[in-house]
């Protein structure tokens, strides 16, 4: 895992992406806040602003950026052949997997930590109740971990980083926009879809509410993909066996 971290920070990728991420979310932060302030949506204006900001900026941009980082986790090891080293070191598969997962998560926690800047700015101008932010950040971290778990799994399936990143992006996006257009499907289907959609579960957090159901959803999502990753890593064991 530490090797993983070291190789992240050795390259420019991390700095470039953090920079871009902050640029985009910063811009969004400024423009959205601006429009909320100038147009005004009623008394609860700032609460709506944060809801909007977490849903449409932070979570959505994470969704775009995560595949860029997870794509290399296992796909690159396979392409380089270094996976052969890892598999012949005295490491269990799950240790390799968790090392990769946690290293990637840690890098992204750094991202998310940077976004604390935005509420801090607003707080400096106009103090507010910080408690809903626990929920928002808990939601963000859970959502993030889910994205990484999904990306890790897809990365374990292929040698190509391009395929890994594009597939991860599509899968994540699909889960995110599942209930995008509620009018397009029957209402009973929407109820089912909204149970599966990452967006609907994240939305609760973004309003500042922690619901056990949503927490469990994300935990299950993470566990499922980590489990699938492990099975995928073990697949080399049963190839060629009779």
């Amino acid at each position: 895992m530490r090797k993983e971290l070291a190789s992240y920070f050795a390259g420019p990728l991390v700095y470039v992406v953090i920079g871009a991420f902050l640029c985009v979310t910063g811009l969004q932060f400024y423009t959205t806040l601006n429009s909320f302030v100038t147009i005004g949506f009623g008394l609860n204006i700032l609460e709506h602003f944060w809801e909007e900001f977490f849903n449409n900026s932070i979570a959505f941009y994470l969704l775009i950026v995560v595949p860029l980082f997870t794509m290399r986790l296992l796909a690159e090891e396979r392409r380089l052949g270094t996976i052969e080293l890892l598999y012949t070191y005295p490491l269990r598969d799950r240790e390799i997997m968790l090392g990769k997962f946690l290293a990637c998560l840690l890098v992204f926690l750094l991202f998310v930590a940077c976004t604390l800047l935005y509420p801090a700015i607003v707080y400096a101008i106009q103090p507010f109740d910080p408690r809903p932010f626990f929920a928002r950040y808990l939601g963000t971290v859970l959502f993030l971990a889910s994205c990484i778990a999904c990306g890790l799994f897809i990365s374990s399936l292929t040698e190509s980083q391009l395929i890994a990143s594009s597939c991860t992006f599509i899968v994540l996006l699909l889960f995110w926009i599942l209930t995008w257009n509620e009018a397009a499907v029957s209402s009973s289907l929407v109820t089912v879809l909204s149970q599966v959609s990452t967006f609907d579960h994240f939305h609760t957090f973004s309003t500042g509410v922690i619901d056990l159901k949503d927490c469990l959803y994300f935990v299950f999502f993470i566990a499922l993909f980590l489990f699938l990753t492990l099975r995928s890593m073990e697949s080399r064991q049963w190839r060629g066996r009779r």
Partner: protein
């Protein structure tokens, strides 16, 4: 130390290893020799627990690879073929990671790291990124990571491929210096390498062992059958007739060289005796003996012959 019984490995319909049995005693250096695609790498990967055998049993230090892969991996150091290491880590960073992962105790890690880097000649590139190193240095990093935890068994897949002659000599002497303490299994398709480093040799073709011998035994076979090259100035027809009729000559091949002399290569099992007799004949007839030289059969020839004989027998 290494025990392989009836190892079979299939990939889909391809049989990469077709029933291989061998043992390597502790402290031995065993060479695995075979053309590309003969199953060397597959055998090694099974030994390291990278994938399990389709059939058969593999044990290292008495531990079954399938039953307790972690315990086996703690005992082996493995250098894969075409070592590609993490290009974006420095040598020290990568080797420290190896030491951590392989359970070198943190108290002695520093010292072990220096020791291994020294032994592999890596001290001067310690801070460089692996991706920026030359092939030779990268190969040494690969060997260093295999040695890191003082494994009892070293499995080296083509350890000297891509190195320059001086580096090859260094690596070979490094491997040799490990003999006795460490059991080594190394694969190669370069024959002289085996005779220089290994105590025993297995020759593999089409996933089967076609010969197994000591390095000396192989050299013996090589010496047993040899060729003699002669250059004689004299009447062509008579000279050739005399050569053909000399006792023990199995085959004669004339080399057309336009220098007025007759140049021929004779094959015979009676090397030295034949040469003594021929010399007497030539001198007795008053011809000029310009050259007479024994051509030892190279390991390459032996190898080609073994493979051919084996394929003929199978056909």
């Amino acid at each position: 130390m290494i025990a392989v019984e009836g190892l079979v490995k299939d990939f889909g319909r391809t049989r990469a290893v077709a029933g291989v049995t061998f043992h390597v005693a502790a402290g031995e250096i065993m060479g695995l020799l075979g053309p590309n695609g003969s199953g060397k790498t597959t055998i090694m990967r099974v030994l390291t627990g990278f994938f399990p055998p389709s059939e058969g049993r593999v044990a290292i230090d008495g531990i079954d690879v399938e039953r307790d892969p972690l315990a086996v991996r703690e005992r082996i150091g493995y250098l894969p073929e075409n070592v590609v290491l993490y290009p974006d880590l420095t040598v020290t960073r990568f080797l420290r990671f190896c030491a951590e992962v392989k359970g070198v105790p943190s108290a002695s890690r520093r010292a072990r790291l220096d020791e291994v880097m020294e032994a592999c000649g890596l001290t001067e590139v310690a801070g460089k990124l692996i991706g920026k190193l030359s092939k030779g240095y990268r190969q040494r990093v690969g060997i260093a990571q295999a040695l890191m935890h003082r494994p009892r068994v070293l499995i080296l897949d083509e350890p000297t491929v891509g190195l320059d002659p001086r580096q090859i000599i260094e690596i070979r002497s490094l491997i040799k210096s490990l003999a006795g303490e460490t059991t080594v299994l190394l694969s190669t398709h370069i024959l002289p390498e085996v005779s220089m480093t290994c105590s025993r040799v297995m020759i593999i073709d089409y996933g089967r062992i076609i010969a197994e011998d000591t390095a000396d035994g192989l050299s013996q076979r090589v010496r047993g059958s040899n060729e003699t090259r002669v250059r004689i100035a004299g009447p062509r027809a008579e000279v050739l007739a005399a050569l053909r009729s000399a006792p023990g000559v199995e085959d004669l091949r004339e080399e057309p060289l336009d220098d007025g002399a007759i140049t021929a290569v004779l094959r015979s099992a009676r090397g030295d005796e034949l040469r003594r007799e021929l010399a007497t004949t030539v001198v007795g007839r008053g011809w000029g003996l310009l050259e007479m030289r024994s051509l030892p059969m190279s390991l390459e020839d032996l190898f080609v012959r073994l493979v051919r004989d084996d394929r003929d027998a199978a056909a």
